[in-house]
């Protein structure tokens, strides 16, 4: 129905049509296209459109092609052959141009693909700008009423979602909650696990997910329904279209009728097998649950309103709820565009990436221009001879254009080859959480753009070289003077490149230092040598607290019997969970929040969390004994400064518990986080249905024993194999590592380009001053004198560049902090090291051509001129 002509073909058709009738022609093409869509389908019509555009290009170019083939085809082929020969005769020059240009183009292609697919391409929802996420905003802590302080955004709790869905919004059309779960799918063959999206039915409308088969979830709260995702439908049901007619699945012990199959949009909400309805029972809607902020909430803004109005309404609703419920008191609300929200953590990196790609392409072009200019001087005698033999200006121009187009084409091809192979590794460097990163590939559009750019820059740079060489006849003894304007320009460019290299290297050094420092931060626990797995108890067998207690005890007992040091926990640091539970130190005080952990007795030992005071849990802390609590030193310091907290009773979600121990604080969200307040409860007194199992030992060594234990215990549990706990920490570093790699790679490429630029400039100058040097040496100037003269010129350029670079770095410090987070890049040793490195490299780049200048026999030099 809504098939549209292929965009690229349409652009082509537009380009090649005559300007006066362009719109009419396009309208004619569209009219026929629509008819062909109607009669023969969209695919045929699209192919038809492409053939029209390509044949149109041919029709338009034919007169020119005819002319070319009739009058000058042979001449062109002759020039082509001559260009190839000439380029092969100067392999260093050709390699230099192709190498430099293709590095620049490949980085542009890779970066362009990344930026396009992750950032610039619109999200695959209808009207993506109107899809928003709703947040609750935490009030700033007492005493720090700084209006500019950024408020912490929180997800929403079940009762709040219920309220929002019951609210008569004016700015928002639909509100939907989204969360994930793992559901057991029971069938005759046995039980397997499915990853489920648990959503409000409105989500389908908000994200514009149209079922491929059947329908979306209905609004009927009682109906047990499930929608399958396409990959799961294919793998589990063999893509059977009859699945939506009367099939049902037993998920989490309840029967769900299969009502539809959908394809999930890329980017959000991520992969899943099945989609089921989000429903809350009365227990989840009590006042106490208002603090359980763990659900994503999406909404679609009404077209009559804008984002700011929706955000304001969300805020009003939360503020109004604050009047009635203490959990919302002082809190606000906010609506944020979903695409912004998904990309927020990566925007800085992506911006950096994009900017570097552009800068490097420009640098490459500038350097190639330098190489071309140097060669032009060399070619002047040849040019003069050819003109003297009767070659026309036009003929020379054509020869030079063919040569530069050839270089551009080869560079473009090499660049695409590089970019194609680079994107794979580059994609693995990008944290997997970056939305749509799996879609990044070298698309036809970007490849075409890069090839065009290659031809264009090759042609442009070649044309520049041609015009530089045109003005001057090979006047003997005047070459240095004649070449002075390009030299002045190139000096500035080389200095600019040195400056950029310095800027990148110092910034990269700053990030590296920051990373090293973060690695030294005491996380409060010791992830090294711990393996983990996740166990979830599902099904009727584990419906009572007692059955859970028995299973956890059994699991730990069997692991111990095999000599493994094991523990379980519901909320391990860095593992991605977040369980802020409300507590009161005394009944009159304000409610505060701390991270709630339910742990087994061995937890502190296995995780290496030090005991500061009192005791940890023992097997005697069980159901029926005194409810006990271990708190972190952060919580102890906050409420019991200068006194012992042991023996104090605090109220945790309505239940009084006695503090028996104080342990070191752990960081839950990374080394940059201020350690949160924490408390721990023994598993015996609050057995949960899920936990991380933590085992001391390398996964390889303990995996088999662990798998056996799980099998003995309950084979239907489907426990994933053990993985090293250090994974969570290294994942945290992924984004930082990515920034470092990008900046590092670009600093290296920049250094290479700047070195090459400096080298070719100095070499060029030496070349054009050959006669002058010869004269000086014939008059008795020492080799050392001449050598140091040449080197001084290169070094003074490098020094100017460094001064510029360090100034730019200093000025950009606030900006860098904005892009990379609170990174301290002002370590004085970094600039010193960078200056040393860049100085050494540039010295080398000027010393090599300087050496060649003094190695020349003055007599030979003078005679040749």
């Amino acid at each position: 129905m809504n098939a549209r002509p292929p965009r690229l073909a349409r652009i082509l058709a537009r380009l090649v049509s005559a300007s006066d009738d362009r719109e009419l022609l396009l309208a004619d093409l569209d009219e026929r296209f629509e008819e062909i869509v109607r009669v023969r389908g969209a695919d045929t019509a699209r192919r038809w459109y492409w053939s029209q555009a390509l044949r149109g290009t041919h029709a338009r170019l034919r007169p020119d092609l005819d002319l070319l083939s009739r009058r000058s085809w042979e001449g062109t082929m002759g020039d082509f052959r001559q260009s190839v020969r000439s380029l092969l005769r100067h392999p260093l020059y050709s390699l230099g141009v192709v190498g430099t240009l293709s590095v620049g183009l490949a980085s542009a292609a890779a970066v362009g693909s990344m930026a396009w697919h992750v950032w610039l391409a619109p999200m695959p929802f209808p009207d993506p700008d109107r899809v928003v996420r709703l947040f609750e905003l935490e009030p700033p802590p007492e005493g720090t009423r700084d209006a500019s302080a950024e408020l912490t955004r929180w997800r929403l709790s079940p009762p709040l979602i219920q309220d929002l869905r019951d609210t008569e919004w004016s700015t928002v059309d639909a509100v939907a909650g989204v969360t994930r779960d793992v559901l057991d799918w029971s069938r005759d063959e046995g039980t397997s696990r499915t990853s489920a999206l648990v959503v409000s039915p409105e989500l389908f409308d908000i994200l514009g997910i149209a079922p491929m088969l059947g329908r979306a979830l209905s609004n009927d709260e009682q109906a047990g329904e499930v929608v399958l995702t396409e990959p799961f439908w294919r793998s589990a049901f063999g893509g059977d279209p009859g699945v939506v007619m009367g099939r049902s699945m037993i998920l989490g012990g309840e029967s769900h009728a299969v009502v539809g199959v959908v394809r999930l949009p890329a980017g959000y909400p991520g992969d899943a097998d099945v989609i089921v309805r989000m429903a809350f029972d009365a227990e989840q809607l009590v006042e106490g649950m208002r603090g359980a902020r763990y659900l994503d909430v999406l909404a679609r803004v009404d077209p009559a309103y804008d984002l700011a109005e929706a955000s304001a309404e969300m805020n009003r609703i939360v503020v109004a709820l604050g009047e009635r419920f203490p959990n919302h008191r002082g809190w606000g609300g906010e609506a944020v565009r979903l695409s912004d929200e998904l990309l927020r953590p990566y925007r800085g990196v992506l911006g950096l990436l994009l900017a570097s790609g552009v800068v490097f392409l420009l640098l490459a072009i500038v350097n190639v221009a330098g190489l071309v200019a140097a060669r032009t001087v060399e070619c002047r005698p040849e040019r003069a001879i050819r003109m003297a033999l009767g070659a026309s200006e036009r003929r020379l121009l054509r020869g030079s254009s063919i040569e530069s187009l050839l270089l551009g084409a080869v560079s473009g091809a090499v660049a695409l080859f590089f970019a194609y192979w680079m994107l794979g590794p580059l994609r693995t460097l990008v944290p997997a959480e970056v939305p749509r990163v799996e879609e990044v590939h070298l698309s036809a559009g970007i490849a075409a753009a890069i090839l065009m750019l290659a031809l264009f820059s090759g042609w442009g740079v070649g044309g520049l070289g041609y015009f530089l060489s045109r003005g001057a006849t090979p006047a003997i003894g005047r070459s240095a003077a004649a070449a002075s304007p390009p030299v002045a320009g190139r000096s500035v460019l080389v200095a600019g490149q040195v400056a950029l290299t310095v800027l990148l290297a110092t910034t990269g050094g700053g990030i590296l230092r920051h990373m090293v420092e973060l690695r030294r931060v005491d996380m409060g626990f010791e992830p090294e040598g711990v393996a983990y797995s996740q166990v979830t108890l599902v099904g009727d067998r584990y419906s009572t607290p007692e059955s859970k207690r028995v299973l956890w005890g059994d699991l730990l007992g069997r692991l111990e019997a095999r000599g493994l040091d094991a523990a379980i926990s519901t909320n391990s640091p860095m593992a991605g969970s977040n369980m802020p539970w409300g507590y009161r130190v005394d009944p009159t005080s304000e409610q505060a929040w701390a991270q709630y952990h339910v742990v087994s007795t061995g937890y502190f030992r296995v995780m290496g969390i030090e005991l500061v005071e009192g005791r940890t849990f023992t097997p005697d802390d069980r159901e029926g004994s005194e409810p006990v609590l271990v708190i972190s030193e952060v919580l102890a310091r906050a409420h019991f400064p200068g006194e012992t907290s042991i023996g104090r009773v605090i109220d945790v979600v309505g239940a009084p518990k006695t503090i028996v121990g104080v342990v070191r604080a752990t960081r839950h969200r990374g080394p940059e986080e201020v350690p949160p307040e924490e408390f721990y409860v023994p598993f015996g007194q609050d057995p949960w249905g899920f936990a991380q199992v933590l085992v001391r030992g390398e996964p390889a060594g303990v995996a088999a024993a662990f798998a056996e234990v799980v099998k003995e215990l309950d084979p239907s549990l489907g426990v994933p194999p053990l993985a090293p706990y250090t994974r969570f920490v290294s994942e945290w570093y992924a984004a930082l590592r990515l920034q470092l790699i990008i900046v590092g790679v670009f600093a290296a490429v920049g250094t290479a380009l700047a070195t090459l630029g400096l080298y070719s400039l100095v070499a060029y100058k030496v070349n054009s001053r050959r006669r002058e040097i010869g004269v000086r040496m014939a008059l008795g100037a020492s080799e050392v004198r001449v050598f140091s003269d040449v080197v001084r010129q290169g070094v003074s350029l490098a020094v100017a560049g460094m001064i510029l670079g360090f100034t730019a770095w200093y000025l950009s410090l606030p900006l860098t902090r904005g892009l990379l987070g609170e990174v301290d890049v002002s370590d004085p040793w970094i600039p010193v090291a960078v200056a040393g490195l860049v100085g050494f490299v540039t010295l080398l780049a000027s010393a090599l051509p300087a050496r060649s200048s003094v190695s020349v026999d003055p007599a030979v030099t003078l005679r040749s001129n």
């Binding site: 090649v16 009419l24 026929r32 029209q52 029709a59």
Partner: protein, 112 residues
């Protein structure tokens, strides 16, 4: 101007389509006419280029028009001029003259 020239094959095809269509001929309708009558999917940009050339030669005249119906968009409508008709007749006479007497041998196959 081009009174003495003979038409190219594609020019003739376009002029024939124009003659069949009458005064309501424009790019898309010419394309569809040729497709229906001959099964040949010609290129619309080529039709444009050809019409423009014949416009310059004085074989056809063009004017900006408006499409009737729901779209109501602008079109460039072409009309056959007497010179165009004359050129068509000339081409036809030429071709018919050349074809005369060739029917029999062709039925057996074209002689090399």
């Amino acid at each position: 101007m081009g009174g003495r020239e003979y038409l190219g094959e594609f020019e003739l095809v376009v002029l024939l389509a124009l003659a069949r269509l009458g005064d309501d001929a424009y790019g898309a309708s010419i394309h569809s006419e040729i497709l229906e009558a001959t099964g040949r999917d010609v290129s619309i940009p080529a039709v444009y280029v050809t019409l423009k050339r014949m416009d310059r030669k004085g074989l056809v005249a063009s004017s900006l028009g408006q499409r009737t119906g729901s779209s109501g968009r602008a079109t460039r409508n072409y009309r056959l001029l007497p010179e165009g008709r004359e050129a068509m007749s000339r081409s036809r006479a030429l071709l018919e003259g050349l074809w005369r007497g060739l029917d029999q041998p062709l039925a057996k196959g074209v002689p090399q």
